[in-house]
Symmetry: C2
Subunit: 219 residues, 2 copies
């Protein structure tokens, strides 16, 4: 399965690229923003395509069309302005969705954020604009004809091990954090699992293995 | 017809409130952001409600529910950050749409912007993030069950007279500018015109009267 990882140079993207590369089932390609980001992927033996999510849907489509699945884990991040939140997290994501749909690259995994559907929560948050962008990008994906799965982790940490997790089908009581490694591992677990198509999964640390947790929310 | 003008203190909103107030057919109410904005509306005899588009959909719904029509002409403007573009132009607009839909306030006129559906145009623009917000807000409205009309004027000017206009059903050759007075006058012309329901109208200065131009694009 040829998987395009959009936002591969992000922290989740790097872990995921490495895991996909180590698996016999997947041929990952990294979608990265500039040449300077290529070295890491050379090192782990993952081909990289340099392109920008600020390009047209056509340009993005020309990259996407050769793959079997897309994982979207790009984010403009906290260091850029909210103009980039609109351009990348909202419109960039939606261009990727539309391009995948146009080229019938049906499998699409979106890394979103816990609370992205809870407007009442956003007001308390210092990153309300980010939630707004994720909310509408997710909405577009969930209304598309793609075989999507939307993962919504809580606050991300850098622990090396995935550990145990908790998953919910809708907003509810979660732990406060989750390792990025757990999100990446979940993506590997669900990529070819049709039971996860059309599902939105809120996730945090917890007490289930990833396989068990996925089964609970996707059966 | 009781009309709620959201963004009434904007330049179009002020002109529109005055015009609606002068007409026997309408009872306008101004939706404004703070008490300091009330004086103008006291002066022209238009009641005002002070509320924020950053409030919840429920709060906005409690204002909207008493009206027969909503005109949305709010905009975060060029002086605030793009966080407000996300909070007002995108999510604020969509909350108003959702609240109107929930309370069956069916008539909804949105003041948008020419080129809001032309992604290829945005890249050349210094206000690309604004177009992104308008695009997705308009999309949400056009997918709602409301009797909407979306007006998409080109660059706005402050000439006192509406003058003649040009209207198109889709992006095309328009003049570069249009007076805000023409946009306000168009809203008055179309508010009760069922032929304009479900229509998106791109508009600039031109050679038709507003009535003629509306007839051309809504017949």
């Amino acid at each position: 399965m040829k998987v395009l990882v959009i936002g591969a140079n992000g922290k989740i993207g790097r872990i995921l690229s490495k895991k996909l590369s180590a698996s016999e089932d997947y041929e990952p390609t990294a979608f990265i923003r500039n040449e300077e980001q290529r070295a890491y992927f050379d090192e782990i033996g993952v081909p990289a395509i340099v392109e920008s999510l600020e390009q047209s849907e056509e340009v993005i489509g020309n990259v996407i069309k050769d793959f079997d699945a897309v994982v979207f884990t790009a984010g403009s991040g906290g260091k850029t302005g909210y103009d980039k939140t609109l351009e990348i997290d909202l419109d960039g994501a939606i261009k990727a969705v539309q391009a995948a749909s146009k080229h019938q690259v049906k499998r699409f995994v979106m890394v979103s954020a816990a609370h992205a559907d809870e407007r009442s929560y956003w007001g308390q948050s210092s990153i309300k604009p980010y939630y707004i962008a994720k909310h509408y990008a997710d909405k577009e994906l969930s209304q598309s004809d793609l075989d999507y799965t939307i993962l919504r982790p809580v606050r991300l940490t850098d622990e090396p091990d995935a550990g145990k997790v908790k998953m919910l089908n809708e907003p509810g009581q979660l732990e406060r954090e989750i390792p990025r490694a757990a999100v990446a591992e979940t993506i590997l677990t669900i990529l070819e699992d049709k039971a996860t198509y059309g599902k939105i999964i809120e996730m945090s640390r917890g007490e289930d293995s990833i396989e068990e947790a996925v089964k609970k929310v996707c059966s």
